[in-house]
Amino acid sequence: MSHQTIELKNVSKTYMRDSLEIPVLSNISLTVPEGEFLALMGPSGSGKTTLLNLIAGIDRPDKKGSNRNPYVNQIIVHGTDLGTLGESALAAWRSRHMGFIFQFYNLLPVLTAYENVELPLLLTKLSRKEKREHVEAALNLVGLADRMQHYPKQLSGGQEQRVAIARAVVSDPTIIVADEPTGDLDKVSAAEIMTLLERLKSEYKKTIVMVTHDPRAAEKAHKVMHLEKGELSS
């Protein structure tokens, strides 16, 4: 359809708290070309996480509404209009196309590093051997092959985040979304994470959308956009 990996057309998001409407995003339009590393910045509460969640298909924009424009509230990723997918189709779509990196890593504490990375592969039809190869490759990429039998609480924050990155890339998605991936890390660890993300972009041609407060992190991105009061600007 296009060389644009991600297209948002006039996307709005309003949260309802009790009977109060809280507009978070209003009429956001955004295109992210394939292979781009985009950083989203903006003050706390400006809706960065909300926007990222919409792109990643774990939240949905407002309904099309009374506005007759059919292109309102449309999110198209790799040519698929996410609004047309049901819950389980969307779940399957996420597992195929999206890699997730969170501020607080979100590893399962009962699983080892290896098992955490293997998690997304449980949804695939790969053989045991293929799974092992993928997991080992991903852990090698983040430099933690020697830590694969460790549990998250036996790892440092930076190492946990590297495991999370391995989990995000193990199923070879085309897009990586990262919500403040360095937000909870010291400078050195943060720099390591950013180096990794850069490599994912340049060596593995991933499209990356990253939310960050950290100007140093944003420097590594191709493009930085600012979200403020529900509006997006370069």
Partner: protein
């Protein structure tokens, strides 16, 4: 790795909590099994009664006796096939804790009314001929290691005096639920002793056992018998043996009803124990479920994770509980005076009930957490701290 492994690892996350929950379920299942067994043992006594036997006893209470002369009058009532009788002798054998039914019976006819007591014909003949002979149930023979020809000394209490009986026959129960713990001896022997020691008390019968030809006529025949003795000095009350035994046990019947009820309350308690654990578990893991959903795991996976853990705990608890139900009931039976319950064992239905309630509880306890986890929006789950 499989989802199953995650279920197992989740269960082992809080080992103490899971262990306590398993223990709680195990103890409850065991208590359930024990209570059901007591209740069943109780009703087995009632079930074992024959439907074509009527018991005719004193209208006021079975502790009052009836004249022997009623026998021929009852025999003439239409529909009556056979009449025999018995007295509750009781007495003390070895010591007062050794409880089993000791009855003075009409030696010639009593066993005709009880075909479920199986006796060797030649032993029965020997018994009938000898005044001081007695017949004992197989279980009594085993418990006291008694053989044919052995002497059983019994101290009378209701009928004072020392008695000695010779074991001349041992009866086998026809069915499992048949009471094999009775001791039967000659009513005539007792009557003679009474004639000597307490003249005037002789010729009395505890109750008549009336065999009727058509069980469906039980009500009419009972009425006809009782009408016969209406307005006499000893009015009678006739009822089927099942009803008689039930009135015999009705004093404790309320307790049995309570036990019956409590046994099912216990199931409710298991549900609360496991439900509490599962709710706590699910609350702690909302964020993890949100992460799994984010990665593309479906509603079915989440249901499998939660129900799997709930069922794993309930089934382990149920199995442990069931396993210990057997030694517990045995210990309980051993602690009871022997002969209290003719049949005391864990019934197959009890096993099935225990096992299926453990499984049912496992499913029910998972419902609320499943509903919470599947209806939760991913973004809300991810937002939760901790």
């Amino acid at each position: 790795m499989r989802i199953r492994k995650l279920v197992f690892k989740n269960m082992m996350r809080h080992k103490l909590r899971s262990l306590l929950t398993v223990l709680g379920i195990a103890i409850a299942v065991m208590a359930f099994g024990l209570l059901r067994t007591v209740v069943n043992a109780w009703y087995a006594g009632v079930d074992a009664s024959s439907v074509n036997r009527l018991i005719t006893r004193h209208a006021v209470s079975f502790i009052f006796t009836l004249p022997l002369s009623y026998r021929d009058q009852i025999a003439r009532v239409p529909g009556v096939a056979n009449v025999t009788f018995a007295n509750w002798f009781q007495g003390v054998y070895i010591d007062p804790d050794q409880f089993f039914a000791r009855l003075a019976v009409d030696a010639d006819t009593y066993l005709d009314a009880y075909p479920e007591f199986i006796v060797e014909p030649q032993h029965l003949e020997t018994f009938k001929k000898e005044r001081s002979a007695c017949i004992i149930g197989e279980k009594i023979a085993q418990t006291y290691n008694l053989k044919l020809g052995d002497i059983m000394p019994v101290e009378g209490d209701i009928y004072p005096g020392s008695y000695e009986f010779v074991v001349r026959a041992i009866y086998k129960p026809r069915e499992k639920r048949t009471d094999a713990t009775q001791m039967l001896f000659h009513w005539k022997y007792l009557d003679e002793r009474i004639r000597q020691s307490q003249p005037g008390r002789e010729g009395k019968v505890g109750w008549y056992i009336v065999t009727i030809s058509d069980p469906t006529k039980a009500a009419q025949v009972s009425e006809a018998i009782d009408d016969l003795f209406a307005n006499s000095r000893a009015e009678t009350k006739s009822e089927t043996e099942a009803a008689f035994q039930q009135s015999f046990v009705s004093m404790s019947g309320a307790i049995i009803t309570a036990m019956n009820f409590i046994s099912f309350v216990i199931i409710g308690i298991i549900l609360l124990v496991l439900g509490n654990t599962m709710v706590m578990t699910a609350r702690e893991r909302m964020r993890e479920y949100a992460v799994l959903k984010t990665l593309g795991f479906t509603r079915g996976h989440i249901i499998g994770l939660i129900a799997g853990e709930s069922l794993l705990i309930s089934i382990i608890g149920g199995a442990v509980g069931l396993f210990f139900t057997f030694p517990t009931t045995e210990a309980f039976a051993a602690a009871l005076p022997s002969g209290w319950f003719p049949v005391f064992e864990v019934a197959p239905t009890t096993i099935v009930l225990s096992a299926s309630s453990a499984v049912l509880v496992g499913v029910l306890a998972a419902l609320f957490p499943i509903w919470r986890a599947t209806s939760m929006k991913i973004v809300d789950g991810l937002r939760q701290v901790g």
